[in-house]
């Protein structure tokens, strides 16, 4: 049998298997609810939901008690911008409007990044298409239910999204000086400038409006031949109908304003501006439009359009009335969004609760799932993270993560399970070595040795 690395890794990590939802009482913790203050108390988790929160809660017979003395509990972290759990190709950049493609079709539930995100306290992530084109593919939020299949990861009932992208990334493919093959400048894909990016989006919505009008007319009379279905236009029609959220990758203030004005002109909303590094310059306009802003805590200078990025961005936008979240866009950064939130306290002085909201309740609002997740409240999904220390700090370590009332990550089990996994791995390696052919010659090139 050929050794499958992926199967091995999956099996090994899955060994600390999530059990079905059971009743838990998390006791004696510092509970940071985000929406209802921080206090010393307990949480009753039942049937996958938060059943009770308070200084004292009921302890039903058979409930498993998690003693969280000297520990902290926060709502599961929500990353509003991630590219994990895809099959690697998340950029359908061959055309400028790729609204027909869907991240849903390439979910890889065995991506180890899911487990790592979980170990960093992330329970929900918005999985986005890449930023190669002005209008990218369809997107959706996933719960980090490690061990479930692709369907089991999907956040049930969440409004799907679509990725837009402005600035350097979408215009790069069109830059006639940027790409050359054998010294020949290539005919670039339109657009090559920010002007062109605006035009691509306007043309697309001009078409979408015509398309929608055809379908509306047909729906009104319900006779005759229906219009031809166009999968590219369908997603944009949904945007116009408010059934699909626009998540727009953006950097500079000019392009942010440009997109808000397109949306105003065509009568739709930008749900979130992603990255939005110069959002602080047009915070007033963003707040007036009602767009959320999902930014990095402190990334800057990695490209020209990130040179005016400032770590105070989140604080300024928040103070000017924008719902702000802090995201990762990165499988590593994703694992410590708790301390990224701490940076909003350092840079700009937002309160602890407001900072924590930037990685929990605010992204939940931005994704339209705050009725289910984002804070510790009775009736919400039991998506909870237990830390050993004050969580808005790099000193803090995730101890346990629950999703829907099920423990999906437990540091004690993870650490104590390592020797067993190492032994198992060695056994598989030894077995594979035995299966290797004896003669090694002839592998490298012709003729053997």
């Amino acid at each position: 049998m050929k050794l499958s690395i992926r199967q091995y890794v999956f099996a090994a990590c899955f060994a600390a298997a999530p059990l079905c939802a059971q009743t838990y009482v998390i006791k004696n913790a510092t509970v940071m609810t985000v929406s209802k203050g921080t206090f010393k108390g307990s949480i009753l988790v039942k049937d996958g939901k938060i059943a009770e929160v308070g200084e004292k809660v009921m302890e039903p017979a058979g409930a498993k008690v998690i003693d969280a003395s000297n520990q902290y509990v926060i709502p599961g972290i929500i990353d509003c911008h991630s590219h994990i759990a895809g099959d690697g190709g998340i950029n359908e950049g061959s055309i400028s409007v790729s609204s027909m493609v869907d991240i849903k079709d390439i979910i890889n539930p065995e991506d180890i990044a899911i487990y790592r995100a979980l170990a960093g306290g992330v329970t929900t992530a918005n999985i986005l298409h890449g930023s190669a084109n002005a209008i990218g593919g369809r997107t959706l939020p996933l719960k980090m239910r490690w061990g479930k299949d692709a369907q089991g990861m999907i956040f049930e009932g969440a409004t799907p999204g679509i990725k837009f992208a402005l600035g350097e990334n979408p215009k790069r493919a069109g830059n006639p000086t940027g790409r050359a093959i054998n010294g020949q400048a290539q005919q670039g894909r339109y657009p090559a400038t920010r002007m062109g990016v605006e035009d691509v989006i306007r043309e697309a919505f001009n078409n979408a409006k015509i398309y929608k009008a055809e379908w509306d007319a047909y729906a009104a009379k319900k006779t005759g031949i229906p219009p031809r279905k166009d999968l590219q236009m369908e997603a944009l029609k949904e945007v116009l109908e408010g059934k699909r959220f626009v998540h727009a990758h953006s950097y500079r203030a000019d392009e942010i304003l440009m997109l808000l004005r397109i949306a105003d002109d065509y009568g739709f909303k930008i749900r979130t501006l992603q990255h939005v590094l110069e959002g602080y310059k047009v915070a007033k306009e963003i707040a007036a439009h009602g767009a959320g802003a999902s930014t990095f805590s402190d990334w800057w200078s990695y490209k020209m359009e990130a040179f005016d990025a400032i770590p105070y961005n989140a604080a300024i936008m928040q103070k000017k009335g924008v719902v702000v979240s802090l995201n990762s866009d990165d499988a590593e950064l994703m694992r410590h969004l708790n301390s990224e939130a701490g940076k909003a306290i350092k840079y700009g002085g937002v309160s602890e609760t407001e900072a924590l909201a930037m990685v929990t309740l605010n992204p939940a609002k931005q994704l339209g799932i705050d009725n289910r997740v984002g804070s510790i409240e009775v009736g919400k999904d039991a998506d909870l993270v237990i830390y050993d220390k004050f969580p808005l700090s790099d000193y803090a370590k995730v101890q346990k993560v629950l999703i829907d009332g099920t423990v999906y990550f437990d540091r004690d089990n993870e650490v104590s399970g390592r020797p067993g996994k190492a032994a198992e791995k060695q056994k598989m390696i030894d077995k594979e070595k035995q299966n290797q052919p004896r003669t090694q010659g002839g592998r490298g090139g012709r003729g053997g040795q």
């Binding site: 170990a119 105070y312 499988a331 410590h336």
Partner: protein
């Protein structure tokens, strides 16, 4: 050295020297760019400026041992990047003279308490450009202050290390988490490169042999130079190698995997040169050897993904604790200009995952100073040392702590930068 004319007295502060026990409510006097006095009941010298330090803490300024500060401004924009010169062996290149003192990065890292950095001609990891796949010696790294009028003014050590990029076996240098474990890859033909492991090893050996040959050439040059042999001609490349061969300048060797580190150590022993290992991984596997040979290391980013798909999720977080347990001397480097300001938080993560707090603090201060040969001048708050200090509201490794004052060579450097200016400007927008 240009010295500060001002005498500054920080009084009633809690001083954490790093090299000794904390002193509560004491006075620190900064004079002529140095720490003149630290004590309980000191009278301020005449004309001194007094800073009230009640409730504040004094620490040495922090040192990042892996940056390209001053050489790379916007990492994706070639015109602003001066790292990664062309050429396989370029020991004559000096990072120092390409340092732009007006780089916005300096102001940005200062507000988080970083007063000195090692800046490399090519850090070989993240950030700006590495020197291409085939570069072996990228040039001389400099230890610099993060403030100064000119690069000369900023220099602590114009040639603190010679940077050698040791070949990596099979080209699996990067991290990303997608790779299978070495033990498995090595069994699969083709896995370690298109032509298979055997070929990768052959390439690796050939590259190592090239480095050995270059050192031999330099050694020969050194002899001829000493003997003033007839027909001797000065060669800038080989000339630059002499301080390394003489053991005056250490080789800073980029080598991540255990087997490569082992080879690098063997190489250095044979060549009789001092080395410092940059961005090692697998500390558990080579710790004993590093400790036995007294070789210090500069740990790369702590907040990093594991090397392979089946490595523990916290593999990078626990490297510093592993280094400590093995008794290896280490300091931290961020190896990406963008994240230099997060140096203290990387150290904090290491504490969260098992490194004693005091060791983390040393790793961003005195250890770095000692590893680069300047432990007597910077890296701790001690009488007679250069006055590179920060005054904070609390533990400098904690994100929410603010740096209130920062001194470099006894001069107070205002904690403003491009970002604070934009903050002020746009906060006031109506």
């Amino acid at each position: 050295m240009v010295l500060s004319a001002e005498t500054i007295v920080i009084r009633n502060a809690d001083v954490y020297p790093v090299t000794g026990a904390a002193m509560m409510g004491v006075t620190v006097i900064l004079q002529d760019g140095k720490i003149a006095e630290i004590g309980a009941k000191l009278l301020p010298p005449k004309g001194a400026r007094i800073i009230e330090g009640k409730g504040l803490r004094v620490y040495p300024g922090m040192i990042d041992s892996g940056t390209e500060l001053g050489l790379s401004e916007v990492s994706s924009t070639r015109e602003t990047v001066d790292t990664g010169e062309i050429g396989e062996f370029m020991p004559q290149l000096r990072a120092l003279s390409a340092v732009n003192p007006e780089s916005e990065h300096f102001g940005v890292v200062r507000v988080n308490g970083i007063t000195s950095v090692m800046t490399y001609p090519a850090s070989g990891g993240g950030g700006g450009r590495g020197g291409g796949g085939s570069q072996h010696i990228s040039g001389q790294a400099a230890l610099i202050h993060t403030d100064g009028w000119t690069w000369e003014d900023m220099a602590v050590d114009r040639s603190a290390a010679m940077h050698l990029i040791f070949p990596s076996l099979g080209g699996r240098g990067g991290r990303g988490g997608g790779m299978a474990p070495d033990a498995i890859l090595d069994m699969i033909p083709g896995a370690a490169g298109a032509a298979g492991f055997t070929a990768a090893k052959r390439t690796y050996d050939a590259q190592v042999a090239k480095i050995v040959a270059f050192f031999d050439e330099a050694r020969q040059y050194q002899k001829e130079r000493a003997a003033n042999a007839p027909g001797f001609k000065r060669d800038l490349k080989l000339e630059a190698m002499i301080p390394v061969l003489e053991g005056k300048v250490p080789l800073a060797v980029s080598a991540s995997r255990a087997s490569v580190i082992h080879d690098a150590i063997a190489f250095a022993e044979k060549q009789k040169v001092k080395i410092v290992i940059l961005q090692p991984r697998d500390i558990a596997k080579v710790g004993a050897e590093l400790k036995a040979k007294n070789i210090p290391v500069i740990l790369g980013r702590v907040l990093a993904l594991p090397d392979t798909e089946d490595s523990p999720y916290d593999e990078a977080f626990t490297q510093p604790a592993e280094a400590y347990k093995a008794g290896v001397k280490f300091a931290f480097g961020t190896f990406n200009n963008e994240f230099v300001r997060n140096l203290p938080y990387q150290a904090a993560t290491a504490v969260g995952f098992g490194l004693p707090y005091d060791e983390a603090l040393k790793a961003v201060t005195i250890n770095a100073a000692q590893i680069w040969g300047h432990g007597n001048e910077i890296g701790s708050v001690e009488k007679g040392k250069v006055a590179d200090l920060i005054v904070t509201t609390g533990d400098p490794l904690e994100i929410t702590t603010q740096v209130k004052y920062l001194f470099i060579k006894g001069k107070e450097v205002p904690l403003v930068n491009k970002q604070t200016r934009l903050y002020e400007k746009y906060m006031s927008r109506q």
